[in-house]
Symmetry: C2
Subunit: 406 residues, 2 copies
């Protein structure tokens, strides 16, 4: 199941980026499960990663390699997360980078490794290293959709974004792919996102853009509250579009590039929510009137993580009492229940500590029958606001997660 | 569904306590849905309540009445929570207390009102006040099981505890009943608990015992992470056993009474977990080796609230990677993943940042096949420890909560 239509777009090349996929047969024989991305010399790369203390070996390595050298390759496998694999996991991640480095004639620390899939199993290194030469030989400037498919785990569809801007007669392209369907939560779930542009962006500007865009997108979505060990969001800029350089966080070119990059992240994040495990609803949570942004997030996550609200959404039941209860237990100090106003889309459902006089069950039902729902919560105590995206909790979610691995 | 056998015990009277039930037909015609409890003059009462900012009108009133006067009656209805009902909700709760006060010849503030059920609907006052005289006329010193049944909502079985101690030739009895099956979380879900003893306990000692026992029981259980608007735990001491008074928090009689009261709370809390909505597993989380108790709770709740872990438990799948991931994202600052050790019952599954060398899938499967499972997490950084109880997440949970109200 998945909500709405998010068709994979037709993607033009990004100058300076080549891709390939190959089949290593990690989990299923014949499945394309390895992706190789090559960046032209002079490209710049930034990344944000899971905050999980049990972060996977490749995540630790990516952090080190990004500091040490300029990235030329990214190698991604699905089917196995190489997480909680102890010292051997680290050796395997290093060996994967070394194998790619040898093929590409670069240093090992110029190759970022990524893994997604089951936790706790050692990587099948022979299978992976056997597939890498085939991937390297077939590098080309198309293949974004094949790559998006190869990194999928419980995803039901590949996720891609493309956009272009014109500047001084040059075309700048931003392409992005992502995967992730469950275990998604603030600070990223089992999700991988790769966004590449041929804009020329200075490293400090790129680092800040990566953080800002991830924060406004992947760190604002939640499906089940779980944060995985492997999540990574990588922003790459090759500088091969021929346009002027973006050397500072100001100016018209910066603003245009920034807008497109943030939009790419937001779109991919929404694709992940809409493909949430067992999702039948796409829910936007707009929390406003907070004294701080943090308390808006606190309330938003309390609502987004409530299994009672999520099952009511699945049932298309306008059970606003469960929303009210979650707002009440979110832990906002000194919250005045009488000042809180709650809308479902444009229908006022709660004010003055209870159901709004104007509200009718028919109004609520009409909103809940839709696949895309906005829950607006005004805390009535300040001017801060935050937006989150989430899904419902369905029988299908339980089925997927009770059956996965078996 | 419910886990294990928790048969309702045969309960002796508690000297000074009378009970009755009546049918007001609040949600279903003919169902016993009103409970009246009468306490002998001179009884003392203590309570702890939900921290939800949208707490229900009766909760607010109970807090006020407990401060203002000595409680002589408790009146409880199921089928309607009288929560998020604004000014009218408060009037209705007061009117309920006044109606009982008139029947019993006491002041309104000597009558504590409680409600549980659907949020946001006004109380059907005519039905309730019509049932109260019938309840008052039938007060008697048995009827604990009938009362436990009358306060049920989605519970599948009544929950009761009884125990006695002997002291200087006197018998002291502790009886308790509780309800609650979903929406259970730290600081209490939709749960009500009434524990009565004929011990003679001074008010400050009773207040502390109530807090301590609730904290070690109802505040350590979680089913779905939701905290309701109505939760209340009431401890009553009539002093009619004839035994000596417990005037201070020391001495052999205090220790005996305290042990029995804490045991009553813990047992009722476990009954609630075992009857968790759709529960097929009873899970004990023992988190040790923490630098503080709070970080043990933080880790415990992260594991207990993870839908991925809960669905794996439902599937009897020893997917220890999901446990590791939850420990990792619980947010313990500076947690050393290599120092963490995790057992399923007595089987070591994780050490040195990965799967234990000695671990086999068969061992894990053998534990997971059981209905009662202990997950032991040693953080390896201190001497604090905490214990929580929770359940799995099943299809039945989704069915119950998607269908409730409809």
């Amino acid at each position: 199941m998945a909500v709405g239509e998010y068709p994979f777009p037709s993607m033009p090349p990004v100058a300076g980026v080549k891709l390939a996929t190959a089949s290593a047969g990690i989990k299923k024989p014949g499945r394309q499960d390895v992706v190789l991305i090559e960046l032209a010399e002079g490209s710049r790369t930034a990344g944000v990663f899971t905050l999980n203390a049990f972060c996977a070996a490749p995540v630790t390595l990516c952090r080190e390699y990004l500091k040490a050298a300029s990235t030329r390759y990214l190698v991604i496998n699905s089917g196995n997360a190489n997480a909680c694999t102890g010292a051997r996991g680290r050796q395997d991640a290093i060996a994967t980078s070394e194998a790619v480095a040898k093929l590409g004639g670069v240093q090992a620390d110029q190759v970022l490794p990524f893994s997604t899939g089951v936790i706790g199993e050692p990587l099948p290194m022979e299978k992976i290293t056997a597939a890498l030469p085939r991937a390297h030989e077939s590098l080309g400037d198309t293949g974004w959709e094949a790559a998006a498919k190869a990194i999928m785990t419980t995803d039901t569809r590949p996720k891609g974004f493309t956009g272009q801007i014109q500047h001084d007669g040059h075309t700048i392209t931003v392409n992005g792919i992502a995967k992730g369907a469950g275990m998604i939560k603030p600070n990223m779930g089992t999700m991988l996102a790769y966004i590449a542009t041929d804009a020329d962006i200075a490293q400090p500007v790129l680092d800040d853009l990566c953080k800002e865009a991830a924060n406004r997108s992947f760190n604002r979505i939640t499906i089940d509250g779980d944060t995985s060990t492997n999540d990574s969001c990588i922003l790459m800029a090759t500088g091969k579009a021929g346009a002027a350089g973006v050397n500072e966080a100001e100016g018209i070119l910066y603003e245009k590039v920034r807008e497109l990059i943030v939009r790419a992240h937001e779109y991919l994040a929404k694709c992940i929510v809409a493909d949430g495990e067992g999702a039948t609803k796409f829910v936007t949570l707009e929390v406003s009137g907070g004294a701080t942004g943090d308390e808006c997030l606190q309330v938003g996550y309390a609502v987004a993580h409530s299994p009672l609200i999520k099952t009511a959404l699945f049932a298309s039941d306008p059970n606003w009492g469960r929303i009210v209860a979650a707002v009440g237990y979110a832990g906002v100090p000194g919250l005045d229940a009488n000042a809180v106003r709650i809308h479902l889309n444009d229908t006022l459902i709660v004010e003055n500590g209870g159901r709004a006089d104007s509200y009718t069950e028919e109004q609520g039902q009409a909103v809940m029958d839709q696949a895309e729902i906005i829950i607006r919560i005004d805390l009535g105590r300040g001017s801060s606001a935050e937006t989150l995206w989430t899904t419902d909790l369905s029988h299908e979610y339980v089925r997927i997660n009770a059956d996965y691995r078996s």
